[in-house]
């Protein structure tokens, strides 16, 4: 068994992109569309739009998802949104204008406390809450998983929402946006919403405390122990004969065993690629997680001094265009960085790095003395009067640019390559990719030129 983490690591258990469970096959991205549409619908109603019936919501959806492929749009409507709307029509029709409902709220705290033996232990955690409904005092995590006859929430979803709630409650109220300072999130009710059912999650769940310690111990061991990956593999709950059906990795884990590349080559390939997984995970920690850790650990002046953020006052916010006034000194640096072509893009944070709403932004123009116009391609109302501009550049490789995000697809694709091969020898013999892998990882001879080289 892995040992419990003895020292604080720069690991942030990140739950932004539904890290605990992944959709499968054609469902990938469907959850995003499902949630984004509901957020859009509720925002529209809160902004004064009235909805009467499901066909009207269908019309709004068709317009919202017009860029999606028709098949996907139909699928999403039929299986997820329509059942949800039929259940929720009365509830959403009664959302008052200017309701205090917020979507995609980021929460982060490097010191989230969990009970441990007679004391407590803290871990860094960050994530995104699908919906914070101040009006009805509830937090909602929405998912496309689940069936009409389910008796319990989809696997681990309750744990995910509980962790987000723990994180939110652990943050000092001074770090909340002004309008939330007097809200006591500890009394909030937690709900998992599937298209077919709502599940209330009890906040008093001692087993989740233990699960958190185990999760961190595993993360630690996989990253820092030589045999971590093997141990995790050996002790897996999901096996070939006893699969966990809603695990997003089950297809690549237990795909058909292919004979090619040859067994010897496959072992060598696996050894080489697994060495790289760890390195890529370290890359992720140092270039992404550490940066996020800095954002929550350092105070605002220090972050500004390091050039990691720029803060400004929001002057106006219209149609996604945000006009921000900066201090003259910050403006100077902001423009110099632009001129040097160093920046990749921006993240605009309303509130703080602990609790706030993050929007992606693109620089439009310098709209006046010490004023910049940034387009966020979003029409939601900011929750604060100030904004923090997180600068992204190739050096810190933050949110937008290379290469941290590569490490995620690199990991996935390397894993997939490891499990790939061909069954038929004749096909494998004529397949250049198999031939190349067998040559690079095996003892075959690599040539620079064909025998029948042209003159």
């Amino acid at each position: 068994m892995p040992h419990i983490v003895r020292s604080r690591q720069f690991i942030i258990f990140c739950m932004e992109d539904n890290a605990l469970i992944e959709g499968t096959g054609g469902e990938i991205g469907m959850g995003k569309l499902f949630h984004e549409f509901i957020a859009h619908l509720k925002s529209e109603i809160a902004a004064g739009r009235r909805v009467r019936d499901v066909p009207q919501i269908r019309y709004i959806f068709e317009n919202f998802a017009r860029h999606e492929e028709e098949k996907r749009r139909m699928h999403c409507w039929q299986y997820y949104i329509e059942p949800w709307c039929r259940r929720k029509l009365d509830e959403i029709s009664s959302i008052p204008t200017n309701a205090n409902v917020f979507f995609e709220v980021s929460v982060a705290n490097p010191y989230v406390p969990f009970l441990f033996e007679s004391g407590e232990r803290t871990y860094p955690l960050m994530g995104k809450i699908d919906e914070v409904d101040i009006e009805n005092r509830r937090l909602i995590e929405r998912t496309t998983m689940g069936r009409p006859d389910d008796k319990s929430p989809p696997r681990l979803k309750d744990f995910q929402l509980w962790l987000l709630w723990k994180t939110l409650c652990s943050i000092n109220s001074e770090k909340y946006p002004e309008i939330w300072r007097n809200v006591n999130f500890k009394n909030f009710t937690l709900y998992i919403e599937t298209p077919y059912r709502d599940f209330q999650v009890d906040t008093n769940r001692p087993e989740f405390e233990g699960l958190t310690h185990r999760a961190y111990a595993w993360i630690h061991d996989i990253l820092f122990e030589r045999r971590g990956i093997h141990e995790a593999y050996d002790m897996r709950e999901c096996t070939f004969h006893n699969r966990i059906e809603d695990c997003g990795l089950r297809w690549s884990c237990y795909g058909k065993r292919r004979p090619r590349p040859f067994r010897t080559v496959r072992d060598e390939m696996r050894n080489e690629l697994r060495r790289m997984y760890v390195l890529l995970a370290y890359e992720l920690i140092w270039s992404k997680h550490l940066f996020r850790y800095q954002l929550t650990m350092l105070d605002k002046p220090a972050l500004e001094e390091l050039g990691l953020i720029t803060s400004g006052k929001i002057l106006s916010y219209q149609n996604g265009n945000l006009e921000i006034e900066l201090e003259p000194e910050q403006m100077d640096r902001f423009l110099a960085q632009r001129a040097s072509g160093e920046l990749g893009g921006y993240y605009i944070v309303f509130g703080s790095f602990f609790v706030g709403i993050k929007l992606k932004g693109n620089f439009v123009e310098q709209s006046g003395e010490n004023k910049v116009l940034i387009n966020t391609a979003n029409v939601r109302v900011p929750v604060s009067s100030t904004a923090l501009i997180v600068q992204t550049d190739p050096e810190i490789t933050t949110y937008v640019d290379q290469p941290w995000f590569l490490t995620e697809w690199l990991q996935r694709d390397l894993f997939s390559l490891e499990n790939w091969g061909l069954e038929r020898d004749d096909k494998a013999n004529s397949n250049p990719t198999i031939r190349m892998l067998e040559t690079i990882f095996g003892v075959d001879y690599l040539r620079r030129d064909a025998d029948n080289a042209r003159q």
């Binding site: 860029h67 492929e69 990691l308 190349m436 067998e438 040559t439």
Partner: protein, 448 residues
């Protein structure tokens, strides 16, 4: 099908006649079928092309010749940056490929123009757009787009990966995974293994795929391109000094560029010496000295830690700006077009410091060396920043990142000015800089 086959054929022929033997061999190596089924060997052409030796041109000619011989086939050209893909696109256009026959597909949907068609997801494309991309003989993209691009290609597509110095091992294999369902008829790799790797916090990930393969297959010998067509021979001598320090072969200068300084008719700049009053500046700007090293010891400026821990040297930044402004004023073409020199530095803080000081017209002529990789400029000024009593030069001495010096110098075509503290860099065990300053063609100027 290539509708303008004849034009492409003529252009390829014309370019082919200017190729040296190494370039011809490299093109032929790519064109030869390397899928040798049933044998205990695999053919993988790797082209080692130092700066300016025409790697991308070799790739473009190989693509053109292949499509002339196999008009129904398709090619996927991939590299690490959109800029490099754009360079390849320009060469293909020059060879006669129309905007529907060679298309670059960046991820930004707003990036559209002749031969460039940005989109984020395939679902966003209309039927007509999808057909256009499906039928396009050559698609160009970054490696990150390999998955999307492979969905627009048919089975048996040829895959060329350029600038492999920035393609590390996991990235290469992940890309292979993304295109494997195409059963690519063949793979080819082009690049300079000595250039800068992809940015990473893990030094082991710096290793590029060429070095990795050669490390595993020690009897494999890549094809080498040895004639460069970019730099004046004096600058090439500096680059060769650095190549020797990096333990690799010398490159030779093609006769077309060996005397090509800024006043050469090909650049067409006229040098007005009288406009510069300072004699030291005149010496630095003199077109007869294509490679100048400026000793900054007497500037009395020291390095300082600046934003994000990067370094800057204010005195050297001021000097770089003064020299850049002098170039801008003193060199003009007959039509009055001024020379825009490029200032490079290994430190982003120094780049920002210099950009702050530059007049608005020159403000975008300043970049880190990393960003300059794959580009070329008529005139380059390099500010190395470091100036400290301990003679410590940080990552400029590290095994992989020391290639910054090599990359910076090899960006210059007609004029290279290096700002360097001799006290810090020379005779302190920093081999690259010792070699560089011993270059015979170097003209050393001391700032008083």
């Amino acid at each position: 099908m290539l509708a303008n086959r004849e034009i492409i054929e003529n252009n390829v022929q014309r370019l082919w006649s200017t190729f040296d033997d190494n370039q011809k061999t490299a093109v032929n190596a790519i064109l030869n079928r390397w899928d040798s089924a049933g044998e205990n060997s695999f053919v993988l052409p790797i082209i080692d092309g130092p700066p300016g030796t025409g790697k991308t041109t070799v790739a473009a000619v190989a693509i053109a010749r292949y499509l002339l011989e196999n008009p129904r086939e398709q090619v996927l050209y991939m590299c690490y940056t959109n800029f490099a893909a754009d360079c390849a696109l320009k060469i293909l256009n020059m060879l006669g490929f129309s905007e529907h026959q060679a298309i670059r597909i960046p991820a930004n949907p707003r990036e559209r123009g002749p031969g460039v068609f940005g989109f984020s997801d395939l679902e966003d494309l209309s039927g007509r757009e999808r057909r256009m991309l499906d039928e396009c003989p050559v698609l160009l993209c970054t490696l990150h787009r390999a998955g999307k691009a492979s969905q627009l290609r048919r089975k048996g597509t040829r895959v060329l990966i350029d600038e492999f110095s920035q393609v590390n091992v996991p990235m290469f294999f992940a890309t292979i995974e993304r295109v494997k369902h195409l059963s690519p008829d063949c793979y080819a790799l082009l690049g300079d293994p000595k250039q800068l790797p992809m940015v990473s916090t893990q030094p082991i990930l710096y290793q590029n795929i060429c070095s990795y393969i050669i490390g595993r297959k020690s009897d494999y010998e890549p094809f080498s391109l040895i004639f460069q067509h970019r730099m004046h021979s004096d600058i090439c001598a500096a680059v060769n000094s650095l190549r020797r320090a990096l333990g690799t072969f010398d490159i030779q200068t093609s006769p077309n560029v060996q005397n090509r300084n800024l006043t050469h008719p090909e650049f067409g700049y006229l040098y007005d010496e009288g406009i510069i009053s300072d004699s030291t500046l005149r010496e630095i700007l003199d077109p007869n000295y294509p490679f100048v090293i400026v000793n900054t010891d007497n500037l009395n400026g020291y390095e300082e830690v600046s934003y994000k821990g990067s370094l800057k040297n204010t005195a050297e930044a001021n000097l770089a700006v003064t020299i850049a402004e002098a170039f801008y004023k003193a060199y003009k073409k007959v039509n009055g077009e001024p020379l825009f020199p490029m200032i490079l530095s290994p430190y982003s803080a120094q780049v920002i410091e210099i950009a702050r000081r530059l007049p608005p017209l020159l403000q975008e002529r300043c970049s880190t060396i990393f960003r300059a990789q794959g580009r070329e400029y008529p005139c380059v000024i390099v500010s190395f920043v470091r100036n400290n009593p301990n003679r410590f030069i940080g990552f400029l001495d590290e095994p992989q990142l020391r290639a910054q010096t090599y990359v910076a110098c090899s960006r210059a075509q007609g004029k290279l000015v290096i700002l360097l503290s001799f006290r810090t860099f020379l005779n302190a065990g920093h081999v690259d800089f010792d070699y560089l300053c011993r270059t015979q063609s170097a003209h050393v100027v001391d700032i008083c």
